[in-house]
């Protein structure tokens, strides 16, 4: 694999040997429930890792708390299973101080958007070199089935027998609102698409948020079924490709258009004005289109759900700038001299 594919990882040492997915598997027994979507994600990530061409000792997986956060224990890299919601902050400290590492954050909808919402939005705006994989199953799994911040309003769960009252978060909208430079969405069971999105995220300099629709077959089975059922999924999924017109449907018969007021909507391709069909532009500085796309789907029926890279723009990463400040300080003032620091400029002698 050419190293040029991941310029954002230019400071991370390359592996001398070709690694395989097997090299990234640990001897720990995987303890997710049988049938959990996490297995597919784990396999996809382990399968993708060798493509980075990095030394595996320079890769770190950091997680918070929740089912998904057990992930680092199954990756034969360095790994840190931290506390609830704090993984982005832990990973920020690590990534900022160690630019020679490829740092991945594994989190879930509760971990990232409820207890850890603050850390997530600040990691995104800072643009630290982190790749955040947010497993969204719209439910609390490890605590056994309470509603989550992405559960649809009215959800009947153990803690909401009459239905949940909170309005839900849309993680992609949240990330775009938090000034994220890279935001994508994919699906656990679509390994090819998941791998493509991981590749794009790894190539991005700065924070990448990847929302992965993941099925919890115990507490919220079928939550993403309209996007998985082979009979209907292609009519529901909008696959975003940068630079291409947004056309979708099992028969490629639907498209996304912008009307004269700027509003975007889905319409039949046959009757659409070709000039109004939107060409996806993930590199657009203005996040307006990406945000509009993130609002296109119906969060209950999941019709018109875009997947792929919503936004991928260039902005210097926090860690790079932080390291530059350190280097500049040494360049301008020389390496610190402790004795002269302690003396300061205002001393007197007692003889």
């Amino acid at each position: 694999m050419s190293t040029d594919a991941f310029p954002a990882l230019s400071l991370v040492p390359k592996s001398d040997v070709e690694l395989s997915a097997k090299d990234f598997k640990t001897d720990q027994e995987v303890r997710w429930c049988p049938g959990c979507g996490d297995y597919a994600i784990l396999a996809a990530v382990q399968g993708f890792m060798p493509e980075l061409g990095l030394r595996k000792e320079n890769i770190v997986f950091v997680s918070g708390i929740g089912c998904s956060s057990r992930f680092p224990f199954y990756m034969d890299t360095y790994g840190l299973h931290s506390i609830h919601g704090r993984a982005p902050a832990v990973a920020t400290g690590l990534a900022v101080s160690r630019p020679d590492l490829s740092v991945w954050v594994i989190t879930g909808d509760g971990d990232a958007l409820s207890i850890g919402g603050n850390h997530l939005i600040h990691a995104l705006r800072r643009n630290v070199n982190l790749k955040i994989l947010l497993f969204n199953n719209r439910i609390y799994g490890l605590t056994k089935g309470q509603y989550s911040p992405t559960s649809e309003q009215g959800k009947i769960t153990k803690s909401t027998p009459l239905g949940s009252l909170d309005y839900s978060f849309n993680p992609v909208s949240v990330a775009l609102g938090a000034e994220a430079t890279f935001v994508a969405r994919t699906i656990d069971s679509d390994r090819k698409h998941l791998t493509e999105v991981l590749r794009a995220a790894a190539a991005h300099e700065g924070t990448a948020l990847v929302e992965i629709y993941q099925n919890c077959n115990i507490f919220n089975d079928g939550a993403w079924e309209p996007l998985k059922d082979s009979d209907v999924r292609e009519d529901n999924i909008i696959r975003l490709h940068d630079g291409e017109p947004i056309i979708f449907g099992a028969n490629n018969d639907k498209c996304v258009v912008r009307d004269s007021s700027g509003h975007i909507s889905v319409t039949d391709l046959a009757t659409a004005d070709p000039a109004m069909i939107i060409t996806h532009d993930a590199k657009a500085e203005d996040p307006g289109l990406a945000f509009a796309l993130s609002r296109l789907d119906d969060s209950r029926s999941l019709t018109n759900t875009p997947i792929g890279v919503f936004r991928d723009v260039t902005r210097p990463s926090y860690d790079r700038m932080a390291q530059e400040q350190l280097a500049k300080a040494v360049e301008d003032r020389g390496p610190g001299d402790l004795q002269s620091l302690l003396r300061g400029s205002d001393t007197w002698e007692v003889s």
Binding site: Y78, L80, H81, S82, G93, L94, R98, L101, H119
Partner: protein, 624 residues
């Protein structure tokens, strides 16, 4: 006109005014000139939490007390000999502390009807005789400053603002302080505003000249330099000394320093100071909240940096879960708690020692953390290095408990020779440490050093040592997740034993017991060292036999602490809390203590401690 010069051995001055009057700056400058003269000194700034409380009101009063002497002193003084009150509010807020016969310099211009009404003076105290027990110098500081600056092209308001320099000039004359340092300081501060600079210099000079010419001051005072050991000295506050200690710890260990911090009074100056020293490899990260301050530092420590987080009590409360994670991960983490009055938001700018039990026990589960407390502003430097040593060598979070008094107080500091500072050995793991049954080798992240019980610190980038750790209980040795009950019992005890083992590297507690025959011991910790020391000296001068000892290590305690306590008939424990150390002492050693507790937001007054010592010593005599 030559004036009479009187030699004094010790002077305590308090500058008091509105928060916007520049009293802290005036105090700082006077301190700097005093330090340069070679007096020993200690300072006590006292200011409101509000940046600019309503002008002329009692809550808006800011003060700066300074003691200086021709001998070594350990407190900023119980009561001032001189009070400079810039307005009626400053007079009202401070007059109760002024002893009979003291000098009182007031800014007469500010004693207007309106200003006096604001603070409840029905008549002018300067004129109504209520201040007759003091030597009152009522000086129209504002109008004299404005008059002196009339030739300058500045607004009246700008001229009025220079009145603190007029006051400083007068005090410098009165106490024979030089003004060169202040001139240099002003030149640096107002270099880009030549007119303001000239005006301030002129105000300073006018204040000096006023002292020289006025009949109001017939006497000048002199305080000779204090005999101090030879060397290079500078003045330093606790927060700066603490920041330097952190920089030094990075240098001594060869580790990059990572500070994750969220601004909070009175700890923010440590963040400000460390952010200036990037050329020492010090990376400062202003986090989104207290929790991220601690967790980002843990992430950096995982990566092989010296992770540090600085805060005050409310911040510690938020960081508790993260500190517990560091206990479980067994990674170095230096937690600096500059204590302030609590609970909750409490008294942000006032000092207190009430976080000891929070540091000791404020986490879920059995979660032991070593605790260190500095005893003076300059001692914050050495205490920070000691805390970092324990954190790095034992792979553990360590609390450094400073407080508001140490943070902002200052004293002369003999600049240490860096060659004499201890080294700190991170001793990173470089290879496998365990042989499997099949003869191949592997890395066990929780295989401990048999002596220190510290686990190996293997940092990312080290080939072959890839491992996963977290907050879940780990198997003793391999470090894999373990829910085994026997293993958990063993791991809980091992973590405790590791922290207890730190005691073997702590020097024995030394007792100051001049003749070795005292029956009363005063045992303190942290910033009360100075007032307790002064009180013991005063008590001894009146014939009371009293010993003093002071704890730097609060967890674990020095090995001989129990023996020391048991060798005295009475152990007095003064604390600026309701008895937190004494609770620990009683629980561990079954030795009773005589507690003296105050939570007034200010350091102890030595005189009050002398009374306690006197009473306890007398009660011993009576029981004989």
């Amino acid at each position: 006109m030559a004036k009479q010069v009187i030699q004094l051995d010790r002077v305590v001055i308090r500058f008091a005014g509105d928060s916007g009057d520049g009293m802290q700056l005036t105090g700082d400058r006077f301190t700097s000139e005093t330090a340069w003269l070679g007096n020993d000194l200690l300072t006590l700034p006292d200011f409101p939490a509000e940046i600019r409380a309503p002008a002329g009101t009692l809550p808006g009063v800011s003060s700066f007390q300074l003691a200086f002497a021709d001998h070594v002193i350990t407190t900023p003084g119980d009561v001032p000999n001189v009070l400079v009150a810039m307005n009626p509010a400053a007079l009202k807020a401070n007059i109760k502390d002024l002893p009979r016969g003291a000098d009182l310099i007031v800014n007469a211009d500010e004693f207007t009807k309106r200003n006096m009404e604001k603070v409840g003076y029905a008549s002018n105290p300067i004129e109504d005789g209520s201040l007759e027990m003091y030597r009152v110098h009522a000086i129209p500081l504002t109008s004299m400053t404005v008059e002196a600056l009339k030739e300058f092209d500045i607004t009246k308001k700008e001229a009025e603002r220079a009145k603190n320099m007029f006051a400083l000039g007068l005090l410098c004359w009165l106490y024979h302080r030089p003004t060169e340092g202040t001139r240099a300081f002003l030149e640096k501060k107002f270099g880009s505003k030549p007119e303001i600079l000239a005006a301030n210099l002129k105000a300073l000079e006018a204040g000096w000249s006023y002292g020289e010419t006025t009949e109001d001051f017939s006497i000048q005072y002199e305080v000779r330099p204090a005999p101090m050991s030879t060397g290079t000295y500078r003045n330093i506050t606790g927060n700066i000394a603490l920041a330097y200690g952190i920089v030094a710890a990075g240098q001594l260990s060869g580790l990059d320093v990572f500070l994750g911090s969220y601004p909070i009074t009175p700890a923010s100056d440590i963040l400000h100071e460390l952010s200036k020293h990037k050329n020492f490899g010090v990376l400062t990260f202003q986090a989104e909240d207290e929790i991220a301050g601690a967790t980002s530092a843990i992430g950096a420590s995982y990566g092989g940096a010296l992770g540090v987080t600085t805060t005050s009590g409310p911040g510690v409360a938020l960081k508790s879960e993260a500190i517990g994670l560091a206990v479980a991960l067994e990674l170095p983490l230096l937690i600096v708690d500059v204590q302030r009055g609590g609970p909750s938001t409490g008294l942000p700018t006032k000092t207190e020692q009430s976080d000891l039990l929070q540091a000791m026990f404020g986490r879920n589960g059995e979660s032991p953390v070593p605790i260190i407390a500095p005893q003076s502003p300059s001692d914050c430097f050495h205490a920070a290095i000691e805390a970092a040593r324990i954190a790095v060598e034992y792979r553990t979070p360590v609390f450094l408990l400073s407080d508001g008094y140490l943070a902002n107080g200052s004293e002369p500091w003999q600049v240490p020779d860096v060659a004499t500072l201890p080294s700190i050995d991170p001793n990173f793991a470089t290879g496998p440490n365990h042989t499997k049954d099949d003869g191949t080798s592997e890395f066990w992240p929780y295989l401990r050093d048999p002596e220190t019980l510290a686990r190996p610190w293997a940092i990312p980038g080290t080939a072959g040592l890839e491992h996963r750790i977290g907050g879940l209980e780990k198997a003793d040795g391999p470090g894999t997740i373990s829910y085994d009950s026997e293993n958990h019992d063993r791991m809980v005890r091992l973590r405790q034993a590791k922290v207890d083992a730190v005691a073997s590297t702590i020097p024995d507690l030394e007792v100051d017991d001049p003749n070795g025959d005292a029956k009363v011991l005063v045992l303190g910790w942290g910033s009360t060292f100075g007032p307790i020391g002064a009180a013991c000296q005063i008590a001894r001068r009146s014939g009371i036999k009293v010993a003093q000892t002071h704890l730097r290590h609060l967890n674990p305690f020095p090995k001989n602490l129990g023996k020391v306590m048991k060798s005295y008939e009475r152990v007095i424990v003064p604390e600026m809390n309701l008895g937190q150390l004494s609770m620990l002492l009683r629980a561990k050693y079954l030795v009773d203590t005589v507690n003296f507790n105050q939570v007034r937001g200010l350091p102890f007054k030595s005189a009050e401690l002398v009374d306690v010592i006197t009473d306890v010593a007398a009660s011993l005599e009576e029981t004989k």
